[in-house]
């Protein structure tokens, strides 16, 4: 066959194939298009991380039964789910609803990716601190479902009585440990890289040093960094002392702390409800104590409130709003979420039922009433690294407390301003 003829034949054949294939593709797309439109009207996409997912499965199934609307759960990586949400919503590929801890709310709002929700009278049915956490600059954006905070877990077999101040706690612990090398008077999980200001916050607030001051409306004011006040410096000195005494150990991270407590190597463990199931399984005779004060003032832990937020570019806004505001706020659902997740519910009636049935919930709830919400303002993002590092250095015994602490505070202020 001569090249020329081959060429023409080839071109002709290709044109034919192309047209046929094109027809096939095009009709395929049209079908897909219709299906999507139908499907879109009745499927809500919900982003949740692995930890919180199991609690939502049944809820989603029940919602579908009741209303015919499907809730599709997409499980995402906790560390990046908030950032992915912020990047993907504007492109239209984001979910309709996201389950998130409340401290991300500030950056969600600043990026315009969440829509305000009007809860009406339902708002009054939730714990006040939970609703505060769902509010940013006066507008409500989410429906809360659980409140979590740290508590002091005591191994009642090792130390029989609760103590109200930290010094007694320490002396109890030391007495029990008796100086043995593999016994620890007190355990709290710290990250060897950046400490854990979250867990240590109640100790810090008991010196009268919250991280931010409040403005006239009661929200955190980014211009009022209170870390560096007199109480803060006292706390810094105390940190160094505790580090030297072996009360706080920078090398014990969360995993190890848990391991040691479960093995009975310490009478005290500062942690939250997420570890309770393992503690129960290990058969420890535990008690949940209120947080002891170290500096004389009330020890206020950070409260984390988990809630459901609506995407501002949701294509199924109405159905999603129905789901969040009317369905997820009911007693039945809040209780169901509690039963699987183990965190005290945010709905007052559900909480009371849960607390009546489970003394742990009651104890945690008591502590929560003393707590303060984690700041959701974007300025908080500038705080964690320096704060944690300063605490860590002091615990490791490096540097002069006042110097280290003040340097950190200055750095943070520079970051917030700049």
């Amino acid at each position: 066959m001569k090249v020329k003829h081959a060429g023409i034949l080839a071109t002709g054949a290709m044109a034919t194939i192309a047209t046929l294939a094109l027809a096939g593709c095009a009709s395929g797309t049209n079908d897909d298009g219709d299906d999507l439109a139908d499907a879109g009207a009745t499927t809500i996409t919900l982003w949740v991380d692995t930890e919180r997912a199991p609690a939502l499965k049944d809820v989603a199934a029940k919602f579908k039964e009741d209303t015919g609307i499907t809730v599709k759960l997409e499980i995402k990586d906790f560390a990046t789910v908030d950032q992915d949400f912020i990047s993907q919503v504007p492109t239209g590929k984001g979910p309709d609803v996201i389950v998130s801890p409340h401290d991300k709310l500030g950056s969600y709002v600043d990026n315009g990716v969440v829509a305000p929700l009007e809860l009406g009278d339902t708002a009054g049915l939730f714990a006040a601190s939970a609703m505060r956490a769902m509010t940013y600059e006066g507008t409500v954006y989410g429906v809360p479902y659980s409140i979590e905070n740290v508590a002091l877990i005591r191994n009642a077999d090792l130390v029989t009585e609760a103590a109200t101040d930290f010094d007694t706690v320490i002396s109890n612990g030391k007495e029990w440990a008796g100086g043995a090398k593999d016994k620890y008077p007190f355990l709290v999980g710290l990250s060897p890289e950046q400490g854990d200001p979250y867990h240590l916050y109640p100790l810090q607030t008991s010196y009268g040093a919250p991280v931010f001051g409040l403005d006239a409306e009661g929200s955190y004011d980014p211009t009022k960094l209170e870390l560096g006040n007199a109480g803060g410096l006292e706390f810094a000195a105390a940190l160094k002392q505790w580090g030297e005494d072996g009360v706080l150990n920078a090398n014990i991270d969360g995993d190890k702390a848990k391991e040691f407590f479960l093995a009975g190597k310490s009478p005290y463990y500062l942690t939250g409800p997420w570890n309770l199931p393992d503690i129960k399984n290990a058969g420890i005779n535990y008690a949940i104590d209120p947080l002891p004060s170290a500096g004389g003032e009330a020890a206020q832990p950070f409260i984390g409130v988990n809630g459901f937020f609506l995407s501002s570019k949701s294509k199924n806004e109405l159905a999603a709003t129905q789901f969040i505001v009317n369905y997820l706020s009911t007693d039945a659902v809040q209780t169901a979420l509690f039963e699987i997740g183990g965190r005290p519910p945010a709905l007052v009636t559900a909480y009371e039922t849960a607390a009546a049935a489970d003394p742990d919930v009651a104890a945690l709830g008591e502590i929560a009433t003393t707590g303060v919400p984690m700041p959701a303002i974007p300025a908080m993002g500038s705080v964690w690294a320096d704060w944690g590092n300063a605490e860590l250095s002091l615990i490791k015994g490096e540097g002069d407390p006042t110097e280290v602490w003040t340097t950190a505070v200055d750095n943070i202020e520079a970051k917030i301003a700049g």
Binding site: D49, T50, E51, E74, D77, G254, K256, E259, W274
Partner: protein
């Protein structure tokens, strides 16, 4: 007793009856010293290297067998011997490990095959043909691949969103899209490796085939490819490893847990705020190494076969 260091291994027997000297093959029991100097020390190095290579992995294995395993606390290796973590991998419906495993294999194999194919085509042309920009082209390919893709994730994300608008099948969330991205990296170091090997195949073979009337396509597919199987095996293995271990892009693209790979899925285990599950993570990691090791075993005879380039003359 003769001095082993001064006599040769081969002994010459000079019994009178024999007449001509009989050569007796060396005794099996050569001196240990000799053996050590020549060969034994290699084994020693090997053992040391193996220990260095393997002990962290043994550690991971022991963590995976310990139901309470944590990565920092379990210093007594193999304290427990419980396959509970492995069971958890397969029994948790939120954690479709079997799916992930299959996904990873699919993505890895398709990427590997694709990379090898595209790279071989390109390497062949660089090796056998002369054209404008050939010198610069190959090195430019290497340079282009040096872009820190890690920071380009936004661009990749937006690109896939855009592609997804036209071809939903290969857009965001699809494994096909991920594979295509990996294929974008096919022309790079791997091509260079293949190019080098192609150069060792003498052109006389091509000439001979051409005289027989074969077209370039036929030469490529039926003759050359068969001769370069070692490098194809190496490149296939390397691209399989990099595709299965790649994490950043896969985590952006694959949003649905059912379509995720093992690397992405396992990482979610340990990125939780509070309850990191090291035991299950370790179990998953151990299992995820199996395909690579299997592939290596399978390809070993090609990779280190006795086919040295020099012998093909």
């Amino acid at each position: 007793m003769t001095n082993p260091l001064t006599t040769s291994a081969w002994e010459v027997d000079e019994t009178p009856e024999a007449g001509t000297p009989r050569v007796i093959p060396p005794r099996r029991q050569r001196s240990f010293g000799r053996w050590f100097v020549e060969v034994g020390w290699r084994h020693l190095i090997g053992v040391l290297a193996v220990v260095f290579a393997v002990f962290p992995l043994l550690y991971v294995l022991s963590v995976s067998l310990n139901p309470l395993g944590t990565l920092t606390g379990s210093n007594e290796l193999f304290r427990a011997f419980d396959i509970a973590n492995y069971a958890k991998l397969f029994s948790n419906p939120d954690v479709p490990f079997a799916r992930w495993f299959v996904n990873t294999l699919v993505i890895g194999i398709v990427s590997g095959v694709g990379t090898v194919f595209l790279g071989a085509l390109a390497a062949y042309s660089f090796s056998r043909m002369r054209f404008v920009g050939r010198r610069v082209g190959l090195l430019t390919l290497l340079l282009v691949q040096m872009f820190p893709q890690f920071l380009a994730v936004v661009a990749i994300f937006l690109l896939m969103v855009g592609i997804g608008d036209i071809f939903p099948a290969i857009g965001l969330g699809s494994q096909a899209g991920l594979i295509l991205i990996y294929l974008g990296g096919a022309l790079g170091v791997n091509t260079f490796l293949m190019y080098g090997f192609f150069n060792t195949v003498p052109t006389s073979i091509d000439e001979a085939a051409k005289i027989d009337g074969a077209s370039h396509v036929r030469i490529f597919f039926t003759i050359i490819l068969r001769l370069v199987t070692p490098i194809i095996a190496v490149v296939g293995l390397l691209s399989f490893i990099s595709a299965t271990g790649e994490f950043v892009i896969a985590s952006i693209l694959l949003t649905n847990p059912d379509s995720q790979t093992v690397a992405v899925g396992l990482f979610t285990f340990v990125s939780q705020f509070q309850s990191k599950n090291w035991g299950v993570f370790a179990a998953g990691a151990v299992l995820s190494a199996i395909p690579v090791v299997t592939l290596f075993l399978f390809l070993q005879k090609y990779i280190v076969s006795g086919l040295t380039a020099g012998s093909v003359k």
